[in-house]
């Protein structure tokens, strides 16, 4: 048995909960932390852990994702014998129906998984941001003799999206698994929707479940497997975020202003790669005032930026005040305008003297290409 991993990434998500931020993209291609897309964290973690054969299962709106990934060169994945395989939403050219759940999706690519020489598979949702060393996970997985390992972290369920809560025994095996959709302030052990599993086991589970018409990998397979006592919980203690609506997007983004979180995401020897854009370094003018902010390359700053994140090529003109906001790529914030708790999508222009003000818990979203 070889101890190499391949990876399957599900590039779908709760596109309806993002107030138009995902009209042009999947959750997986959401911009994050000033110069990344969510998919960069998954792909980089895979590559850094030696998993260079990666299948991406897409659903809809996948062309921005394709545009970002191209042949995977920026992640060193333009390989002859492995690299990225993208599976479009339709299994066959002649079919026009999309798959219904992960089980069906996995079933359409059984051939791809079966032919791969790797003996282990990482299954990952596309809506997480974390720098994960899967070699350590696999080590633990093999040592424990588990059938499948669930990656999880301690977190509050602050929003009303579906989360899977993990209960575990002293040895770390899962003894309870259930989904909640009710917000709560308690710290719970939450599944990241990321699994490591032996290929042979995955293939058998999927074939069995598909044959019985099952759809959902979590409820139809994992929940039922709990009783066999061979699901392992692997807790990620470093930063990990699940992003599935505007509220979590904003909250998790702002956490990256914390030095420790940045160290956990970017500070180790495993780098996060992204599409290279050949931007120039950022230019600070005579009137720039910048405090506690993350600033990407290519910006020109002549105003005030506080507790904010600026993506690439953002222009901040004289007299502007940006607070607690996220300005995505190619944004132009013109003279004397003021933003507070705002998320502007790519290529947004805020005209001179305008004021936009959202709330911590309800940030305003300005959609792509808008001039406001």
């Amino acid at each position: 048995m070889n101890t190499k991993m391949m990876a399957i990434l599900f590039a779908s998500g709760n596109e309806n909960k993002f107030n138009d931020l995902t009209i042009h993209r999947t959750t997986t291609s959401m911009p994050f932390a000033g110069r990344y897309r969510l998919v960069d964290f998954a792909l980089s973690s895979f590559v850094n852990s030696g998993a260079t054969r990666i299948g991406i299962i897409t659903r809809n709106n996948y062309s921005s994702l394709m545009d970002h990934i191209r042949m995977g060169r920026d992640w060193d994945l333009n390989r002859k014998n492995s690299g990225i395989a993208v599976f479009p939403p339709f299994g066959l050219n002649t079919s026009k129906e999309m798959y219904k759940g992960k089980i069906e999706a996995l079933h359409t690519i059984l051939d791809f998984i079966e032919k791969a020489p790797e003996d282990y598979v990482i299954l990952s949702n596309g809506n997480t941001a974390a720098n994960i060393d899967y070699t350590k996970v696999l080590e633990k997985h093999i040592e424990s003799g588990a059938d499948l390992t669930i990656l999880c972290h301690k977190a509050q369920c602050v929003n009303s999206s579906k989360r899977v809560i993990v209960g575990r025994d002293k040895k770390g095996f899962v003894n309870d698994l259930y989904s909640v959709e009710i917000p709560s302030q308690d710290l719970k052990l939450v599944s990241l929707g990321v699994y490591v599993v032996a290929k042979s086991i995955l293939l058998e589970w999927v074939q069995q479940a598909y044959a019985r018409g099952f759809v959902d990998f979590e409820t139809d397979i994992l929940f039922k497997e709990v009783k066999n006592g061979k699901l392992l919980a692997y807790e990620i203690t470093e930063f990990a975020a699940i992003i599935d609506d505007v509220k979590t997007y904003y909250a998790e983004s702002m956490k990256v202003l914390d030095y420790n979180i940045r160290e956990q995401l970017f500070g180790g020897k495993n780098k996060i790669f992204t599409k290279v854009k050949d931007s120039v370094p950022t230019i600070y003018g005579d009137k720039a005032v910048v405090v506690n902010s993350l600033i990407a390359d290519g910006c020109t700053i002549n105003g005030t930026v506080i507790n904010s994140i600026l993506f690439r090529n953002v222009k901040v003109e004289d007299g502007v005040v940006i607070r607690d906001s996220i300005v995505m790529e190619d944004g132009t914030i013109m003279e004397n305008s003021q933003l507070s708790h705002v998320i502007t999508d790519k290529r947004v222009t805020v005209q001179s003297g305008r004021e936009l003000k959202g709330l911590q818990t309800y940030p305003i979203v300005v959609v792509k290409n808008k001039v406001v």
């Binding site: 790669f273 120039v280 370094p281």
Partner: protein, 401 residues
């Protein structure tokens, strides 16, 4: 085997570049960092590919590893072509002989076979230590239109500086009538930029002749150009207008970095029609902390900035702690400036560390005899807490001070 190329570029990456001192102790001059995220060689490599020339030989016999690794498969500059690309070319042995590069012309002579594999009509000769943006394809068009044997790019320099350059006199059609290397009494202000286009067959002829001449310095400026001129070959100037700077000294390297902060200097890197490419460092955006002040400065990715930065270039991955003051300086990649340190008119090398409360360099009113007194902390050097590096002083890795 290779398909024919109209024009192949040959970049003379030169020798050790001793005038850059500790900065070129372990890397070749073209690999020295510049402008926050670039290396000096990025300018010529980007100019070349942007001019639609996709094959370049980088001739060096000094510390080629850094260049080899930096250029790699050429992908960041789009040189990862099926046929052609960027090649680092140290000297080699043939069945008959093997020797080190004796001069610029000899370096090209030894690599005649490299160029011949692409059967080029023209060869573009470049230097690796200039900061500028130039469309060589326009120069090539002019060369072809003139039916020239050799075209030399020239820059109009102030007459008082002309005696530092190779100076061309040309007729009204730009045909060169006279060439003088560093003349005491310059007859023109057209200075050679060290950028030549030759019709390859003609250049080969002269390289072979030059090689046979035992008294030759095997140098373009001293031998090849004067010889061709004497023989009445068709040689033309090509006028370049725009920003151009030789960064062969600490003072000029510092000046060129400072020019990036001056919108009047003419070196605009933001123009998306002429991108200067660089190998990407895979760093997150830089973070600006609660105590930072940034004034008229350039900051690259991966930095953690919490100090006071004025008129300075802050490269990739630099840390400037709270209370540190950086003025009119260049911080090269991944250097660290500790609390309370004051850096002024200085270059801090890559991976260097400036300890707490150090004083590096001092305020300069202007250059003396054209040279700024810039303090230099060498790459990988640690300056101990409270130490001082005087204006114009240079500290290397072997302790020095």
């Amino acid at each position: 085997m290779a398909s024919d190329k109209q024009c192949v570029a040959m970049l003379l990456a030169g020798g050790q570049g001793t005038r850059l001192g500790v900065l070129t102790k372990e890397v070749a001059k073209p690999a020295v960092p510049f402008g926050g995220k670039y290396r000096i060689i990025d300018f010529t490599l980007s100019n070349t590919i942007n001019s639609d020339i996709d094959t370049i030989g980088v001739l060096t016999q000094y510390q080629p590893f850094e260049l080899n690794q930096y250029i790699g498969n050429g992908q960041p500059w789009d040189f990862d072509r099926l046929d052609g690309g960027a090649f680092v070319l140290p000297p080699y042995q043939t069945a008959k002989s093997g020797e080190w590069y004796k001069g610029t012309a000899n370096a090209i002579y030894q690599n005649i076979n490299f160029a011949d594999r692409y059967n080029p009509e023209y060869v573009l000769i470049l230097s690796g230590d200039h900061i500028y943006k130039m469309d060589y394809s326009k120069m090539l068009n002019s060369h072809i239109k003139n039916g020239a044997d050799c075209t030399i790019a020239v820059l109009d320099v102030p007459i008082e500086q002309a005696s530092r350059f190779g100076i061309m006199s040309a007729d009204s059609n730009n045909r060169i009538t006279e060439f003088e290397e560093k003349p005491k009494h310059p007859k023109s202000t057209k200075a050679s930029m060290g950028i030549y286009i030759f019709t390859w067959a003609k250049l080969k002829e002269y390289l072979i002749k030059d090689e046979a001449d035992k008294n030759s310095y095997n140098d373009f400026g001293k031998n090849i150009i004067p010889n061709m001129l004497r023989d009445g070959q068709k040689m033309y100037t090509y006028d370049f207008v725009g920003y151009w700077k030789d960064v062969g000294t600490i003072s000029s390297l510092w000046e060129a970095n400072m020019d990036l902060l001056d919108p009047q200097s003419g070196i605009n890197l933001s123009d998306r029609r002429w991108i200067i490419y660089a190998r990407n460092a895979a760093e997150p955006p830089h973070y600006v902390g609660a105590n930072a002040k940034l004034f008229n400065s350039v900051v690259s990715e991966g930095g953690e900035i919490d100090g006071d930065i004025r008129n300075s270039i802050v490269s990739t991955g630099v840390v400037v702690e709270k209370g540190a003051v950086i003025k009119d300086s260049v911080l090269m990649p991944n250097c660290v400036i500790r609390k309370g340190a004051v850096v002024s008119h200085a270059i801090v090398g890559w991976n260097a560390e400036v300890g707490e409360n150090c004083i590096i360099g001092e305020e300069q009113k202007g250059p003396i005899n054209g040279e700024w007194k810039i303090a230099v902390v060498g790459p990988n050097v640690s300056i101990k807490k409270g130490d001082k590096v005087a204006a114009g002083e240079m500290i290397g890795a072997e302790g020095g001070k």
